[in-house]
């Protein structure tokens, strides 16, 4: 359903040009959970902005149902890492979640969509509070509820759990797996956390350092539903984890030979 073809993105021009993405290809099929993982500093956020139509690519294209993406498409929602800057502080939780929805639906439908999305993320009690009255994890739940109420076919997530503590993070990971089932949504999930990508993904796209391209695409064949304890103690989980780790480390240009030399000596 989503096809990224020969995508490239260069910032600036002439001598100052910085090549963030070079000739990147991958595909996402219906209802799939794809994790995009790569070393920090590679163009993960740039890639996601190109996919969501927020940034025009320098070359290649992104297609959704065969349609070339020129601007943010209706069928897409995006959850940002910085929840505190993506929720509107002058709106209550209810108003935030309703904001993108109310324009497309009647008042009654909006209320229903908002309330069921907020229930799915377990925040019904906080409907009339302001985002800044909530903890970081709860704020990110609001952002997820807003995305769900919008009823997208495809949900893009840009390192959504990178700024919450470990326990909250595990809870949110399980939450996103649940709502994905409930809403039948396709998810493209960007992360720099290898464990997270293996735990969540049906497939993992491993990226190289900048200029970023696809290093490898990996199918994750772990039993569903995933479980924070049971899944993570499977030998297969450890193997996937090690595989992705090596895959990311493989292409660290220049630095690699020097380090292996000294390691051998």
């Amino acid at each position: 359903m989503l096809k990224v073809e020969h995508l490239s993105k260069t910032y600036g021009e002439g001598d100052d040009a910085v090549e963030a993405i070079r000739d990147l290809d991958f595909e996402v099929s219906e209802k799939e959970f794809v994790c995009i993982v790569g070393p920090s500093g590679c163009g993960k956020t740039t890639l996601l902005k190109c996919i969501s139509g927020l940034l025009p690519p320098s070359g290649g294209e992104v297609r959704l149902h065969g349609q070339r993406i020129e601007g943010p498409p209706e069928q897409m929602a995006l959850v940002f890492q910085e929840y505190s800057r993506s929720l509107y502080p002058w709106m209550t939780v209810r108003q935030n979640v309703a904001f993108p929805v109310r324009r497309k639906h009647s008042a009654e439908d909006t209320r229903r969509l908002v309330e069921s999305a907020v229930r799915s993320v377990g925040l019904t009690g906080s409907l009339d509070r302001y985002p800044w009255e909530l903890s970081g994890g709860m704020q990110q739940r609001v952002a997820i509820a807003r995305a769900l109420a919008y009823q997208p076919e495809i949900l893009l997530m840009d390192e959504p759990f990178a700024s919450v503590d470990a326990q909250t993070r595990a809870d949110l990971e399980d939450l996103i797996l649940e709502v994905r089932e409930e809403y039948g949504v396709t998810v493209v999930f960007v992360t720099h956390d290898i464990d997270e990508s293996v735990y969540l993904g049906d497939r993992i796209v491993v990226l190289t350092p900048a200029p970023t391209t696809v290093q490898e695409v990996l199918d994750v064949d772990l039993p569903q539903p995933r479980d924070q304890v049971a899944t993570k103690e499977l030998p297969a989980f450890a193997r996937y984890r090690a595989h992705v780790y090596r895959s990311i480390k493989r292409k660290q240009p220049e630095a690699v030979p020097v380090e292996t030399e000294s390691a051998r000596a």
Binding site: S52, L54, P72, E74, F80, E82, R85, P89, W90, W132
Partner: protein
């Protein structure tokens, strides 16, 4: 416990210090026979005779109407133009030299022109007050709109928020803390220009009254007018702070949570 004590202490100081200052003034000026500095008691008596409520209708109301009207016109224009300039970099570049030039003109310098063109009536005073209030609100609105967080704007784009909602429910609230800073400046300027315009050409108003009293050597009356203007400025600012506290509660809350 100690925070509460601190608050009561603060409130106590806020009440007692002005009272002490007034007391000191009363004591030092008691029995004064200096022509220019009559005893405070005399000023206060004159104040009560003049402003409660003898001249409210004839002088205070016209002054407040001019100020309110001028300010309101400036507010609407400044926010409308400010949103436009904030949203369009091209319009901003085109307008920048004119805006910078116009706001650099000391407004009293426009009085002779305004009297010549508009006359000495109310419109002239409203025009001058509006002109002076426009710039701080306009520039703050532009700055506020430019400064709206990129993630907030990207969020609106991703969710296909339309132009009207983007302007009224995103840009305007996001810029409102800065717009309010401009409004505070504008209100104090409005008071100043009201007084000046009434001193230059008027037949009523508080500014007119102060100058007229001085010219007719009614010194306690003059002082009572000055006192009233001070109280008026204080009350206006206090009212604004209260409105701001209500409207921008989210701003203080969000900032506190970001710091905490």
């Amino acid at each position: 416990m100690s925070a509460r004590r601190e608050r009561w202490l603060g409130l106590g100081l806020e009440v007692t210090v002005p009272l002490l200052a007034l007391g000191l003034w009363a004591v030092l000026s008691a029995g004064s026979d200096t022509y220019y500095f009559p005893p405070l008691t005399e000023i206060l008596e004159t104040f009560a005779d003049t402003w409660v409520f003898e001249r409210v209708g004839s002088d205070v109301v016209p002054s407040l109407v001019r100020m309110g009207l001028g300010f309101a016109i400036a507010l609407v224009l400044a926010i409308a133009i400010g949103l436009g300039l904030g949203l369009s970099p091209r319009a901003r570049r085109a307008a920048a030299p004119i805006v910078e030039f116009l706001r650099a003109i000391p407004p009293p310098a426009l009085l002779p022109f305004a009297i010549l063109v508009i006359g000495v009536g109310n419109s002239m005073k409203v025009f001058i007050i509006a002109f002076v209030c426009l710039w701080p609100i306009l520039l703050n609105t532009v700055d506020g709109v430019i400064g709206v967080d990129l993630t907030l704007r990207d969020t609106a784009r991703v969710y296909g928020i339309g132009t009207r909602d983007r302007v009224w429910r995103l840009m305007l609230p996001a810029a409102s803390p800065q717009i309010f800073a401009g409004i505070r400046t504008a209100v104090s300027l409005a008071l100043i220009m009201m007084v000046i315009s009434e001193m230059v050409a008027s037949t009523n108003g508080i500014g007119y009254f102060v100058l007229q009293s001085q010219r007719s050597f009614a010194i306690p009356e003059m002082w009572s007018g000055i006192l009233l203007l001070g109280l008026l400025g204080y009350a206006l600012n206090g009212g604004l702070v209260m409105i701001e506290r209500r409207l921008l509660r989210w701003h203080r809350g969000a900032r506190a949570s970001a710091l905490g």
